[in-house]
């Protein structure tokens, strides 16, 4: 299995290289600091252009620039930002990554617990009122755009609830770290938004997995032998049905770590998503964009691999080829 993991990791390297190169070529051909300087500062002399060329190697062709960027990125040097006063990108990136993790890690843990509970409940009481409620929630959660759900939470807690009760229990935007209470009340709504969207997908999958297992032959056998229902659920059903769910959770974890773009935008959260969208895309900052894109790519690959490994580890029937 170690050999399999290593082989998969090695196989992932060219994938990361090609996809980051494509992104690098795309963003650097779209964003041209020289042309921008020419437009914003027509009276600038050649020393200004030389300085830009020096900083970002703009006189080199894109593949060469990509290679020097990659060389830096591998050693932890993510280059210099164009939009944020020529600061180093790496410290900004890690700072923002911490803020994103503040949302994504708790959200992922909540999703894991709740999707397990909801899918077990739903499957054990199939076609009950509670099951219909859970299924209805999964349909709604999958159909609602993230930003719309975030806006709804903001309207409800920021305006309506305040109008009714005069209280405003949660911050509806930004990261506030003055006290533990402030921190908790500023993460509450963005985490809820992240949870709802992922929870819907995972619960839907989990319910189907539980139902599938519940109707399997070995459960019928156990029941026929007179095994108590409680033991059937805990020892037979859960152990088998959790295997596919664990792999889905690994992927959810990866998606949440890399994909809080929209939620962070709605809640003005100073994390990687906002860094990518506002400083990277809107301000045309290639090094900022590439730092976040590389991070998302690596996280996605690692957690997909983790999902496959977990599956094989938990289910002895799976053999790696």
């Amino acid at each position: 299995m170690v050999a399999y993991a290593l082989r998969r990791l090695l196989g992932a390297i060219p994938v990361i290289l090609v996809s980051t190169f494509v992104m690098y070529a795309l963003v650097s051909s779209i964003n041209d600091p020289i042309a921008e300087l020419r437009q914003s500062c027509p009276q600038c002399d050649s020393s200004a252009y030389d300085r830009l060329n020096d900083l970002y190697n703009l006189d080199q062709p894109i593949p060469q620039r990509y290679l020097s960027w990659l060389g830096g990125a591998v050693t932890g040097d993510l280059g210099v930002s164009t939009s944020m006063g020529e600061q180093e990108v790496a410290p900004i990136f890690w700072d923002r990554a911490k803020n994103s993790a503040l949302l994504s890690i708790p959200a992922a843990l909540i999703v894991i617990v709740f999707s397990a509970v909801l899918s077990i409940y739903s499957a054990l009481r199939q076609y009950s009122l509670g099951d219909y409620a859970v299924t209805g929630f999964t349909y709604l959660g999958l159909a609602m755009p993230t930003f719309f759900f975030g806006l709804l939470l903001q309207v409800f807690w920021g305006i309506w609830f305040q109008n009714w009760t005069g209280l405003k229990p949660f911050w509806t935007g930004g990261l506030h770290t003055e006290s533990i209470g402030d921190l908790l009340s500023s993460v509450a709504l963005p985490i809820t938004t992240l949870v709802i969207i992922s929870l819907a997908a995972d619960t839907r999958f989990g319910r189907a997995a539980m139902l599938e297992t519940r109707n399997a032959d070995f459960i019928r056998t156990a029941r026929a032998k007179g095994v108590p229902e409680r033991t059937i659920v805990l020892k037979h059903l859960l152990r088998a049905a959790l295997i596919p769910m664990v792999t889905v959770w690994a992927i959810t974890f990866g998606t949440l770590l890399g994909g809080t773009l929209v939620t962070e935008t709605v809640f003005s959260w100073p994390g990687l998503g906002r860094l990518l969208i506002f400083n990277g895309v809107f301000d045309g900052d290639v090094n900022i964009m590439m730092a976040v894109i590389l991070f998302i790519g690596v996280i996605t690959v690692l957690f997909n691999l983790l999902a496959d490994l977990l599956y094989g580890w938990l289910d002895p029937r799976v053999r790696y080829g």
Binding site: Q126, M144, F148, L151, L211, P244, G258
Partner: protein
């Protein structure tokens, strides 16, 4: 996620078991699928919702006396009234007509993306599954690359520089998401190509193209259709997110996401301006997903759950 195979076949026994008595007239797969689809309540509700929205989006602007880009400063920023059913925006444009216009785009984008992604994924997936070896390695590599690329990031990068039309957005989303259909088709074709009917066709001298077209594609078409439907739903959400971030189509043209983006500043005074377009996006995706689920149960009774 090729290995995680959880069949849902047992979970809906009432839809799977056909009540066919021994002496009954045999039924084709298509007829049985249609019967299963018809008995799937949500799918019928989904179809009904989808087509009533199509009707509303295309007929609504015709019965309204306003144009979607007709500016009327005197009536600006009004709430819903009998004159302006959904109210007006900051330039006094009628929001009912604008919401209908946005709905037209969402529907168009979902249908075009679904069709294009299904075509791309079907062709590339079946080629990869059929001719293993170098072709398969190449397509699998492409699929893996697309997996690591965040679609929203690429759309944002392009959207900031180029003005998008609904068709270019649909095309881009299709190019970024065909791999999901391709994975399903590839796996199925790899199973089917070893089956006797394919071997028989090959023994009879059928060409590769003929085997793929005549024997393999019909067998994977159902799963591909299901995948395309689910993709159509994702495309609507992706497009509305893009325009919510202000990177959609060129004004005065509008989409549902653009309407939410324009209205989010006045959300505390006039929340209906956000609720109506947001609700419409949710309803369209809901309808499309209902139909997708119905199609899955009807066409692909032994399908594998894909993440």
């Amino acid at each position: 996620m090729g290995e995680s195979a959880v069949t849902e076949a047992n979970s809906r026994p009432q839809a799977m078991v056909e009540d066919v008595a021994f002496g009954d007239k045999p039924q084709s797969f298509g007829r049985q699928a249609w019967k299963r689809f018809r008995s799937h309540k949500l799918a019928i509700i989904g179809i009904f919702m989808f087509f009533s929205m199509v009707l509303m989006f295309w007929i609504g602007p015709a019965i309204s006396s306003y144009e979607f880009d007709e500016i009327n400063i005197v009536d600006r920023a009004q709430g819903p009234s009998s004159e302006h059913w959904f109210g007006t925006d900051d330039l006094g444009r009628d929001l009912f007509v604008r919401a209908m216009r946005g709905g037209q785009f969402s529907i168009t984008i979902s249908v075009v993306t679904g069709l294009m992604a299904a075509a791309l994924g079907g062709v590339l997936g079946s080629i990869a599954g059929y001719f293993s070896g170098t072709v398969d390695t190449g397509v699998t590599f492409l699929i893996n690359c697309l997996l690591t690329i965040n679609s929203l990031a690429i759309l944002l990068v392009l959207g900031v520089k180029f003005q998008m039309t609904p068709l270019t957005i649909a095309g881009l989303i299709a190019i970024l998401s065909w791999y999901r259909g391709a994975r399903v088709v590839r796996a199925l074709v790899m199973q089917f190509k070893e089956r006797e009917f394919v071997l028989a066709a090959r023994a009879a001298g059928a060409s590769n193209l003929r085997i793929i077209k005549g024997h393999l594609l019909p067998n994977v078409a159902g799963s591909l259709l299901v995948e395309a439907t689910l993709l159509a739903g994702t495309a609507i959400i992706l497009e509305s997110t893009l325009s919510f971030l202000g990177l959609g189509v060129l004004p005065p043209e509008t989409t549902l996401g653009t309407l939410i983006n324009e209205a989010k500043g006045s959300i505390d005074t006039n929340p209906t301006r956000v609720l109506i377009p947001g609700g419409l996006v949710t309803l369209i995706v809901l309808a499309v997903n209902f139909v997708g689920d119905g199609l899955r149960d009807a066409l692909d009774p032994t399908h594998e759950l894909e993440q």
